[in-house]
């Protein structure tokens, strides 16, 4: 198996607000290998975006900060690194793509300028080598006529094209890890399909490890090798993609998969999960999903379940699984 690029161990991130401490990420562990895509699936408020920001150390102090755990990248723990040292990682070793391409691109600078900024910051290239490097990045994202694209401004591009430019910026320094936070949510279905195929291609070419955050199971199925399902700040199940769909162990995972309407058959009635996710300021004792779980027992409501390994890199946190 290829080597592990990132290992997150027992990460805790909290936001300190007037209402109290919001434990947005409460003991999350996972790893990603070279040339592998790890998906993080969950609904809004589950902590997936905060996890991404924590890895990038982009949380806004004093409100939010990592309160515990390790983020190990190729031997170095990123959590205690100084701001200066962390900046050397961002853009070069770890890159990030966000959901809205319009706000990720500065409207007053050209595409070439924005990709070039990243290259100039992190690579010591002589001046005449910068432009070829920019064009190389554009080609990697299969952007047509890269030479003309250099001088284009974001407003001249469509949503799909902008998202490719964002991808080009992210990949310009050939990072070891790419974190993509819902990059396809705002894209149309057919453009999304193009984009996913593109990233599979990029992964083959550059061996980059990808953490793909999404709420869309269709995208997970197509794009990710392994998946982690998050709920209320914790990962409740991790498994290879195929197993998550064929044999989900956690009640939330199966409920979630069942509540998504299927295109390959006609559903008579969709399964819907009653209630809402718990408020992170006021967590229930025991398993966080228990209030909404149809098969919850007394133990579930009293104690948080431990993480159990059920083989083949498949872990679950549920009292019903031994």
């Amino acid at each position: 198996m290829s080597e592990i690029v990132l290992q997150v161990e027992n990460l805790h991130t909290s936001f300190f607000t007037r209402g109290g401490e919001v434990k947005a990420v409460d003991g999350v562990s996972f790893f990603v290998r070279e040339s592998e895509t790890f998906g993080i699936v969950g609904e809004s408020g589950c902590g997936k975006s905060v996890t991404a920001l924590s890895i990038m150390r982009l949380l806004q102090e004093p409100g939010g900060r990592i309160t515990g755990g390790k983020i190990i990248m190729e031997g170095t723990d990123l959590v205690p690194l100084s701001k200066k040292k962390m900046r050397a990682y961002r853009g070069r070793m770890i890159s990030m793509i966000l959901q809205d391409p319009m706000s990720s691109l500065n409207p007053v600078y050209t595409v070439g300028n924005q990709i070039g900024e990243s290259i100039r910051l992190h690579q010591a290239l002589p001046d005449n080598m910068v432009e070829p490097a920019i064009i190389e990045s554009l080609r990697l994202l299969k952007i047509p006529t890269p030479e003309t694209m250099l001088g284009n401004y974001p407003f001249q591009l469509s949503g799909g094209m902008r998202q490719r430019v964002v991808g080009a910026i992210a990949m310009s320094c050939r990072p070891r890890l790419l974190i993509a936070d819902e990059p396809t949510t705002a894209l149309d279905a057919t453009i999304q399909a193009q984009y996913i195929a593109l990233f599979e291609d990029i992964q083959k070419k550059t061996n980059v490890a990808i953490i793909f955050i999404t709420h869309d199971f269709g995208v997970v199925a197509k794009m990710c090798h392994r998946v982690g399902v998050m709920y209320a700040g914790k990962i409740v199940e991790t498994a290879p993609t195929r197993e998550i769909f064929k044999a989900p162990q956690h009640p939330y995972t199966s409920a979630l998969i069942n509540s998504v309407p299927r295109l390959d058959r006609k559903d008579e009635r969709l399964f819907s999960i009653e209630g809402q996710p718990p408020s992170l300021l006021n967590l229930p004792p025991g398993c966080r999903f228990a209030p909404r779980c149809t098969v919850a027992r007394d133990t579930c409501r009293q104690q948080e379940p431990p993480e159990v390994n059920v083989g083949n890199e498949h872990t679950v946190s549920c009292w019903r699984v031994k």
């Binding site: 300190f16 109290g20 401490e21 806004q60 809402q276 718990p278 408020s279 006021n282």
Partner: protein, 299 residues
């Protein structure tokens, strides 16, 4: 059935991300200005009961007395007397009353006119917008001071002349800002919904546009407190404001300008008062804006 209870969190112990010192400073920026402003309102309402002397009563034998905490002063006149022997403290109290009433009235009038124009301009658009904005441009380019002087000469100086002078052009600042808000709101989803439901234009302006514009309005108004008081002071200082012997802070500053070397307190105390009120108004405006801006995360 989903109910509201699941959404609301029980308030827990307050743990904020800021240090204790930072939090104290932050709450002070609200309390201190609030106290000052409330104090001013109190003084305004109860002036006759608080002021020790009649503000225009002259005590010719006790002119230019320094404040009581200085050498030569007496506790009879706590802040001293001016060049005509009038008690500074009493004049400050009555003067505050005048300055505040003039400013508040002017603010009410300008806010009222400006809001109506801004909402009409932003929501209705088209030629109405064009016309009203041209009016605003004209108002903004007129020299306010000149108008005030002309009014003072033409109508004669007095309380209402000053109010009029301050109001006649002051609405322009509001109408532009409110127009911007109204424009933004016109395109919002809930306004579209109201149109689908058949609500009339007037109905939409009253029920949907105005309540959402009130926030901005209040912020502008609190920031205007300082500006209006300064404007009134300037007019009075120049002699085209509140006529003597009625005290106003501006005219008091003016009165003392010839005595700055030997009786500095005549100008200084009213000057400090003006500064404090302007500062308080500004801090209050900032505080309200920060409190009501939903985008700023509450730390």
């Amino acid at each position: 059935m989903t109910t509201l209870g699941e959404v609301r969190a029980k308030p827990a112990k307050r743990i904020s991300g800021l240090s204790r010192g930072a939090r104290i400073v932050r709450s002070l920026t609200f309390f201190v200005p609030m106290v000052i402003m409330l104090g001013l309102v109190f003084i305004t309402l109860f002036a006759p009961l608080i002021a020790p002397y009649d503000p225009i009563e002259q005590h010719m034998l006790e002119r230019r007395l320094p404040p009581s905490f200085f050498e030569g002063g007496t506790t009879k006149y706590i802040l001293g007397t001016d060049h005509l022997g009038r008690d500074i403290l009493s004049r400050m109290i009555y003067g505050g009353r005048v300055s505040l009433s003039v400013s508040l009235l002017a603010i009410m009038i300008t806010a009222g006119i400006g809001t109506v124009m801004g909402i009409a301009s932003g929501y209705i658009g088209g030629r109405t917008d064009g016309f009203l904005m041209r009016l605003t441009d004209i108002a903004m380019s007129f020299p306010g001071l000149l108008i005030a002087m002309l009014l003072s000469v033409g109508v004669g100086p007095g309380f209402w002349t000053v109010v009029f002078a301050l109001s006649i052009l002051g609405w322009a600042g509001y109408s532009r800002m409110i127009r911007g808000e109204a424009l933004r709101l016109r395109n919002s989803d809930f306004v579209m919904q109201a149109r689908v439901n058949g609500v009339s234009n007037i109905g939409i302006m009253f029920k949907h546009i105005f309540p959402n514009v009130v926030n901005t309005l209040i912020i502008i108004m609190t920031l205007q407190i300082g500006m209006m008081i300064l404007a009134e002071s300037a007019l009075s200082y120049l002699g085209i404001g509140i006529p003597a012997p009625t005290p106003s802070w501006g005219s008091m500053v003016s009165d003392g300008r010839n005595d700055l070397d030997r009786a500095w307190w005549i100008s200084t105390f009213p000057g400090i008062a003006i500064g404090l009120v302007v500062l308080s108004g500004n801090f209050l405006g900032d505080w309200i804006r920060d409190k009501t801006d939903p985008r700023l995360r509450r730390l």
